[in-house]
Amino acid sequence: MADIDTDALKSNFAAVAAHGGDQVALYFYSYLFLKYPTTREMFPPAMTRQRDRLVGALVRIVTNVDNVGELVPYLEDLGRDHRKFGTLTAHYPAVGEALIATLRHFSGDQWTNELQANWAAAYGVVAGAMSGAAEKVDESEPPWWDADIVEVDLRTFDIAVLKVRTDTVHPYRAGQSMSVEPTTLRPREWRFYTPANAPGGLEIELHARLINGGPVSTALVRGASAGDKLRLGPPFGRMTLDPQSSRPLLLIAGSTGLAPLKAMIDQVARDGGRATHLYFGARSIREIYDRKDLELLAERYSWLTVVIVVSDDIRWKGPRGLVGNYVADAGDWSTHDAFVCGSPAMVAATVKRLISAGMPQDQIKFEEFGEA
């Protein structure tokens, strides 16, 4: 960001965050709802998770404030996604005012006019990227896509595979996610999920894992049945196949991080096939929730190899260990495009191992699923 003292922003943000993320978020939302009460209707009934999300988004933005290549696409996705809340360009100044009032309050004596000007300029860039991306699609795309649940298949006590059917084709690409609202069961609660099949049709496969206390995952895994309505937000994320690349693929999944990688396999199949290795990591045999499909895919496609690696189950006769370690030791991947998806810990460990095994960093794309 030109003309913005990003180091000053980072150190001020660190000082503010030291008061505790929840305190900061409590102040922010109290300010916003006190001065602009009508904005409350855009938020879910219970605010605890929303406060965590605000802090998470702020951390992500401030951490990447010097990395415009990462930051701007994220903000554009976020702005486009916010249309489903009814967020308009006119709402951005109220949020900016609440944000600056919050930073100022927690900065105490450290607050200066320069800091205020820096934050105002940075917020201007953020709001411009978000509202600009939203306005760009205002004419061409709806704020959300309506869908019906067709089938809920409970694969383990905490993982369900859902088939849903949209009214019109959703424009995601293989590997991208979308926010999902269980409209019948938990209106105004959203969580990101990733289709496990290639786009183009009306049917979408979603893999949902129960998150302790999560309203959306609880609704999808425990409560949902055929006929329930969903709303799907716009495409989100950049973990997609590079159309310019013809390198062989290395796909590494942990738990429901399998979904985007399965979508890529589906896409590759439609594009005529290409050498692909899929490694699926699980702690126990029970967690291999999509085994039948994986075996079917490996049987059907001669270009596809599927390896299941189990870390903590002595009954498993196949490859054992952490999937990232196993993959890194299994061959030379320096000529491949790698895609990694799973828990934050699994993704971090796997990417680190691949890089230290000599894989070029720019050939690795990854996405982690949130634990909260």
Partner: protein
């Protein structure tokens, strides 16, 4: 010439100003169909007096408040985040109508936002 920064108590117009603002605030709150049920059967005269005493004490005026703490006073009322935020909105409208500036609003938010975890229980 220097003058000490006025306390929030003084900015809000001391006891008279606070009593008037509390009256205005509860008029807005009980008129809200989403909130009215919480006040069903409540002695509003006594509630207004308690609230005035508490705000007088909390903003730097005479310490007279002898009521319950926040968690005691609101326990069992099943107050939701949504209801809390509607009350916050009415408080904002009250302050704006009373001519409060941004500094006052910031100070009120600072006093108010840490109370939520003690009050919201549903």
């Amino acid at each position: 010439m220097t003058s000490p920064t006025p306390t929030l108590y003084e900015t809000l117009g001391a006891e008279g100003g606070i009593r008037k603002a509390v009256g205005d605030f509860y008029t807005r709150v009980v008129a809200d169909p989403d909130l009215a049920d919480y006040f069903d059967g409540v002695d509003m005269v006594s509630l207004r007096r308690h609230q005035t005493d508490m705000l007088v004490a909390a903003t730097g005026g005479p310490q007279r408040y002898t009521g319950q703490d926040m968690a005691e006073a609101h326990g069992g009322l099943q107050i939701t985040d949504a209801a809390f935020d509607k009350v916050v909105g009415h408080l904002g409208a009250t302050l704006t109508a009373a001519g409060a500036g941004d500094d006052t609003i910031g100070a009120v938010v600072a006093a108010l936002s840490p109370l939520r975890p003690a009050i919201v229980s549903a």
